[in-house]
């Protein structure tokens, strides 16, 4: 597993090096800009897309990433996995079936735990992107989840094995697409409410781009040699929350279990 992680790091390092020696990234940005109406998407002073805002998916991805008919605990959904099915290894598929059977009580979401990556992105609650030149900070309304996507040219930490809930996110621009390599996960999170899962060898490559000024096309390629037979890709759209005065409202729902005891109350 350490080997897989180092391989991922090497792959990223090579990709970053390749980026460094490729023609200046501003050039493709200008090209992409020229092929669309100039005002089509918000941009920062440095020309990169400006993803600042509050976003939320309309998709049914969090109920089940794969195509599914409506059931007691999920509306129907066409699925967001390219090719339709998640390529589980045989033993992992058994585990996934077991998760599905106990989803009503074992989905970490029900304890308001950190949803992880990519699940937090398509969980049906808003998240805010706060953007600077050197990073994007994703503040999720649900639970206590703040993820930083570094865009300062930094690499994953040399030391791995931190087993992070949200992973370690390093991004780079490919034209108008933000490409984010996420590694160093723990195995505690699920990928959706239906029990799709991963191990600590999860490696996610995200691609964030504007479809139009109020819609992000979010793609994530998910790899985990312990669980899947090959990398697979999902795509969901993220819609800007445009209601007047819309903003995040903190939702530290794990406190609901004990909140009634404060301040200085016996609760229920």
């Amino acid at each position: 597993m350490t080997r897989a992680r180092s391989l991922a790091s090497i792959t990223l390092a090579v990709a970053l090096l390749a980026g460094a020696f490729a023609p200046a990234s501003a050039a493709p940005a200008r090209k992409a800009q020229a092929s669309q109406p100039a005002a089509a998407i918000p941009r920062r002073a440095d020309g990169h897309p400006d993803f600042s805002g509050i976003w939320q998916t309309l998709s049914e991805a969090d109920y089940d990433l794969e195509p599914h008919a409506g059931r007691r605990d999920a509306p129907p959904g066409p699925g967001v996995v390219e090719g339709g099915a998640i390529p589980y290894l045989p033993t992992a598929l058994e585990h996934r079936k077991r998760n599905f059977a106990v989803r009503g009580k074992e989905d970490p979401r029900q304890r308001c735990f950190v949803l992880g990556v990519p699940r937090g992105v398509y969980y049906p609650a808003p998240f805010e992107i706060l953007q600077r030149d050197e990073d994007l900070t994703l503040v999720h309304q649900f639970g206590n989840q703040v993820r930083v996507v570094h865009t300062d040219g930094s690499l994953h930490p040399a030391e791995s094995g931190k087993d992070l809930w949200l992973g370690d996110s390093r991004g780079r621009w490919e034209g108008d697409t933000l490409v984010v390599d996420v590694t160093d996960f723990n195995e505690e999170t699920w990928l959706d409410r239906s029990g799709n899962f991963h191990s600590e060898q999860l490696h996610v490559l995200e691609r964030w781009s504007f479809l139009d000024k109020d819609t992000i096309r979010y793609r994530a390629t998910i790899d985990d040699p312990k669980v899947f037979s090959r990398p697979w890709t999902i795509e969901v759209l993220l819609n800007r929350r445009r209601e007047t005065n819309f903003r995040l409202i903190e939702d530290y729902c794990y406190t609901l279990e004990y909140a009634d005891h404060y301040p200085h109350k016996d609760g229920q």
């Binding site: 706060l130 930094s154 609901l256 301040p263 609760g267």
Partner: protein, 323 residues
Amino acid sequence: MMKKHLIALVAITIAAPSLAQAPVQPRGNGQGGGIQREVTFPAIASAAWSGPRTADGQPDVAGFWSNTISNHSNFTDPQAGPPGEPSKQAKLPRDQRAPSRVSDPADGQIPYLPAARALQEDFARNFSNPVKPRYVEPLARCAPAGVPKSYMWHGFEIRQYPGKILFWFDSGWRIIHLDTVAPLDERIKLWNGESHGHWEGNTLVVHVTNANGKALFGRYGDFMSENASVEERYIFQPDGQRFNYVATFTDPTIYSRPWTATIPVRRFTTADKPDGWHFDVHPVNLPGKPLKYEHDERICAENNGGFGGGAVGVPSESAVIAR
């Protein structure tokens, strides 16, 4: 299935040192290493700002910060230790410890109405043996530290954006609206409240409403109710290396008059040694570039992290939400 009552079980284990997360390290030369314990600190006057500014014109105060006197063990005698666990300094004459965080009134005490004082004292009496859930300090259960406790616990980061400031704490986040977004309905009560602010020279002025009053101010059980409003003034030193957090609490339902808290805070930089309390950071992997630090995610409830005395973290073993 019957819900497990973990809370009561966990609440009884208390003997843990009151700073479960703080590595015990000898105090360095003011460069971190446990809780910094300034006995005195400078006043900072509200004035014009001549330092660097962000692209949208705010005083640039982004970075890592931490308070300089103590943690949340004791609000009014910050270096004397939590209830039932007096610190070494507690034996010293009072003027050899940092002053009360209550800077007004002059006696350093929160001007509670009698019923509220009784609730606070009841909590303090029961803190070291919390036989009921209400006596467990909520931060020990991974609850957000809220206002003002967030500023006297671990170090935190300030990130600035056009129209917004993000405070990123180890126990959650808080967004200060500098923009014109309308205030939340008063019926919505939150751990960190609702914050609208603006800059006046070197001072960030923030009006806080909608607090749920649940976070408490620390281990003595000091508190506000959900009827409180707070006027916060973050007054930054001209060199940008310190600020004083000066907050006035108004709540006629539990206080006899408005009162003011002052918490001194200083900036942590690459000149400081990272530690597990003020400056819990590691170097960014940026080969060939100047040293820069970053902070990892800090997840509490999920990994059963102990976040303070009175209890260890209380992870839920069954569903908390049905949505």
